[in-house]
Amino acid sequence: MTRIIQISDPHIVPHGQLAYGQVDTAKALTDCVETINRSLSDIGPVDMVIVAGDLTDFGTEEEYQRFCTLMEPLDLPYRAVPGNHDDVAVMRKCFWGQSWMPLDGPINWTLDFGDLAVIGLDSSVAGKAHGHLTDETLCFLSETLDAQEGSPTIVTMHHPPVLTGIEKMDIQNLRDSKQLKKILSGYKGELRLTCGHVHRNIVTSFGDVICQIAPGVSHAVTMDLRAGAPNCLTKEPGGFLLHEIRGGIMSHHILVGRYPGPFLFYPDK
């Protein structure tokens, strides 16, 4: 049975800095890697980790190198799609030669485990915060999905094509999503769309498919649904998703960090 861990929005900054002057994102990623490694004996085996974008905060080479260094202790292979805080050219250079990184163009890839396939899509737009899928990416998606012939598939991109009610994030969601909806809704099998960007665990419908937004591994975007709410972060615990085939595609939400337990519910039995 294939299992995939999805992490999102690490926002790594240069050594000695805090993201937004507030968050030690490197520590959060280190804790996340530690949590994943520690959990493997209970939840594994896991086949792959996918990073749903915003690996870095400013897309610099220094930040990517730091990201790679922080990910080194991870006991699993990983691959990534870019987010709006990434720079596709710098990211390509950093992951040059990795099996999933194309030589040029959008960072789109496929991973087929037989019982589950993952399609990673590049929704980033150079210099912009919102997302968009180019014709090339849409063609890649439709061709790749077609080849899956209805087998369970997860499509991952950074920008969600839905509105969450968090205004400051909604203005930079995935735009022009009509064609995406058509392609996904036409799939003759189980399909899950998973995104990042909002740093919150959110589940909704998008056309005929379930759209799941992954929590951030670090800080959260503040839960504030009022119109005109300010653009804020809250230092809630980070988390990640475990996707597995259990009847259908099942996604578990796991918190980063150590918590008291486990305790037997009935130690005397």
Partner: protein, 344 residues
């Protein structure tokens, strides 16, 4: 396969008419270029044919006798080639070409046979085992094309495939692309904003402007017989001669010219190669610029009409900036085209 579009249009919800009702057909094995400036509707047309855009009702797209208008993109069996080749660096040429076929879960023997076939066609056989990072730009383009045709698409669509390349490589790859597309013998539609590219690659060019095909013909036909000021200007940079028309006489700032026909209500165009610098001629102007281009000089001449005119000069030496020169233009080289409201 023959591609045929009837009454195909696209109106956006805000009322923008991206494509006006268009008729277009591309014969089996024909290579047609959609040429026009950005916003002319060429990309919308390509997206409609690919299945990435839903056209207005009443539009019909035919692949031979199949009406594909309602078919989603993945059912149209269309091969697409984009600016980026999106090749995978750690895979061999063979594996890159076979990637799509492998995803389609074709039997290994079938994949091998098809990959070998396109490797031969693209003269990539000697490189089949190499990693794509070891290839030149031209070889990479061939791998990308080979990958696009390996699944045997009914139609090949190319979306500005050369526009990301630097100028020197672009010219080489353009000529190579023209040869390969003919080798494939596939019906192909090629979108570009670059007239040289369109002329070099296509059997036929459809020039688009403001959401419609304004003229379609062979590159020679478009160059020699444009039917509108737009096509005259866009294809081959014809220059307008602005002046007062009196029957078959054109009075310019720098002299008087005979027209091949009555010029009233027409705009008069001339091409740079038809402007001759002569000892004595009917027009007189001043040399503004002299550019040596190896095979010829390009001379900018002011004072003949309101804009500076360019002349292609083949002589061994050229006049100097500031010289007053005489110019002649043969009447039969002038193109008279209907005046267009708002045309420059």
């Amino acid at each position: 396969m023959t591609l045929r579009l009837t009454h195909t249009a696209k109106t956006y919800p805000d009322g923008t008419k991206a494509l006006l009702p268009t008729e277009l057909s591309v014969d089996k094995g024909e290579i047609v270029s959609l040429l026009g400036p950005s916003g002319c509707g060429k990309t919308t047309l390509l997206r409609i044919i690919a299945g990435l855009e839903t056209p207005d009702s009443g539009s019909n797209i035919w692949f031979d006798d199949d009406n594909v208008t309602a078919l989603p993109v993945e059912r149209r069996q269309v091969g697409m080639v984009f600016q980026s080749y999106a090749l995978f660096p750690n895979m061999s040429v063979r594996a890159n070409i076979g990637y799509g076929l492998k995803m389609q879960k074709l039997p290994k023997s079938e994949i091998d046979a098809r990959v070998t076939e396109v490797l031969d066609m693209c003269q990539l056989q000697p490189f089949s085992g190499r990693e794509v990072t070891a290839l030149s730009g031209g070889q990479r383009q061939r791998v990308a094309l080979a990958r696009a045709i390996a699944p045997r698409p009914r139609l090949l669509l190319l979306d500005e495939p050369l526009s990301a390349l630097d100028a020197s490589l672009r010219e080489t790859l353009r000529d190579e692309l023209a040869i390969l597309l003919r080798e494939f013998d596939i019906t192909a539609l090629f979108v570009t904003h670059d007239q040289d590219e369109a002329m070099a690659i296509a059997d036929r060019v459809a020039v688009m402007s403001h959401g419609r095909v304004v003229q379609s013909g062979t590159p020679e036909d478009l160059y020699r017989n444009p039917t509108s000021s737009f096509v005259a200007g866009f294809v081959g940079n014809a220059m307008s001669l602005r002046g007062r028309k009196d029957g078959t006489t054109l009075h310019l700032k720098g002299g008087t010219l005979s027209l091949p026909a009555d010029g009233v209500g027409q705009t008069v165009f001339v091409r740079a190669e038809d402007i001759r610098i002569v000892e004595s001629g009917p027009l007189r102007g001043k040399v503004e610029t002299v550019t040596f281009l190896g095979t010829h000089y390009r001379i900018g001449i002011s004072g003949i009409t309101s804009d500076t005119l360019a002349s292609i000069h083949l002589g061994q030496d050229a006049p100097k900036v500031g010289d007053m020169i005489n110019v002649s233009i043969m009447a039969e080289t002038l193109m008279l085209l209907p005046e267009e409201a708002g045309a420059a």
